[in-house]
Amino acid sequence: MKERTIWEQIADSFRSRSIWMLHYCTGCGAMELPPTMTARFDMERFGIAPMATPRQADILLITGYLNTKTLRRVIYTYEQMADPKYVIGFGSCTINGGIYFDSYSTINRLDYYIPVDVYIAGCMPRPEAILEAFNYLMEKIRKGEADGWKRYRENYDWYKQNQIRSLGEVYVHDEFHE
């Protein structure tokens, strides 16, 4: 890993304290976010805030299983986010497909297609686990270890190849987009 300049170190420490997330609610994990956000656990105290668009967001929160159709959108959304960007895989579905491991339409592991910085295991993980994961991610960012976005840029061909292998093409032109 390259040595960070002083500016990058400062920037990273800012980034770690201000995490704007785009929660891509693909599955049941979305249910766990309201308690995390509201009074009981209050993730805003860590500077974590929900954002509405990928352009503004820092982290992409994938909350559950991803089928091929959704994955295309996730990849597209991820590519629309501004660097530096981080991904949290949420629940076992993103890790190994979970209970959908043998589905013909659901992928098995997310990091094969986009770089994941932190996984949260569990089906479902509780809010405590989520906050723990956020804290871990913040630590990683501060240290400059959360470099998924760099990996994606460096190994872009590899990721693209995986995407194409599983999805055929990322961009699909169907009748609903005419």
């Binding site: 009074a39 805003e44 954002m51 668009t53 503004q56």
Partner: protein
Amino acid sequence: MVAAYKALFNLVVAFFLVLSLEGIGRKITARIQRRIGPPWYQNFIDLFKALSKHPFSNGWIFDFGVLMALGGTMATAMVIPMGSAFWTPFPNSDNFFVIMYLFAVGALGMAMGMVGSGNPWSSIGVSRALTQMLGYELPYLIVISSTIFHYKTASIHKLIEMQRGGWNLLVMPLGGIIAFVSLMGMLGKKPFDIATAPAEIASGPMTELSGKYMGLLHIMHVFAIFVEISLFVDIFLGGGNFGWYLVKFIVVWVLAVMISSVLPRFRIEQMIKFYWGVPLGLAFLNALFVLLGWTL
């Protein structure tokens, strides 16, 4: 030259004051919602983080719009008197209408740049923002017009001097209240945050903003809040020396935040109907009182 330093001082004060107040506002909202909330300096972190990111630009008009928004609002913030004639950078040009229209440059720049991003959400957001302006500006301008008619001056620092005998808020309480209601709309606080509405239209005009564009517009927003609240403090609360000015500024801000944190959001035509209903009527009533000389 002194004027130039004062103007720059305006910018510095505005930047630090409003950014901290925004953090405090988040904290207050959180406390009202029984949360802990972020630290008061959270917005500084957010701002610098946004500036440090590697953004996307949707064409030159997008860049130009952001620059125009920030530049125009900064120009406005430089004219604003901070509570007294001493802290008035340009005593010859602090006319209310000049400030109001100079302020519109920023709004226009922002609207133009954001629509230039090519995103339909942004366009919808801008359309709402402009419509909203039609709502809150009218009662506000009527109230200010009656104030100007009453004191025979539109120069802000002269208005402050005129209020030595008593705050304008106490002279025309009705007008003060209406101006505050309009101020809520101007600040884009909760019942009136129709333009950004993140849950409906993906934060409206800001949909395509990333990295430093977000950051620069955040700075613009900071100056905008500074201008709006300062105007209210100067025109209705009688300004005061620098310390008093800050106190009044903070009080107004905290009040606005507290009100906004317990309210849901209007629909766009509901908002127009709201402003064109009671507030506008009361603004005219206030104007009538001023015409008849029935001021306190």
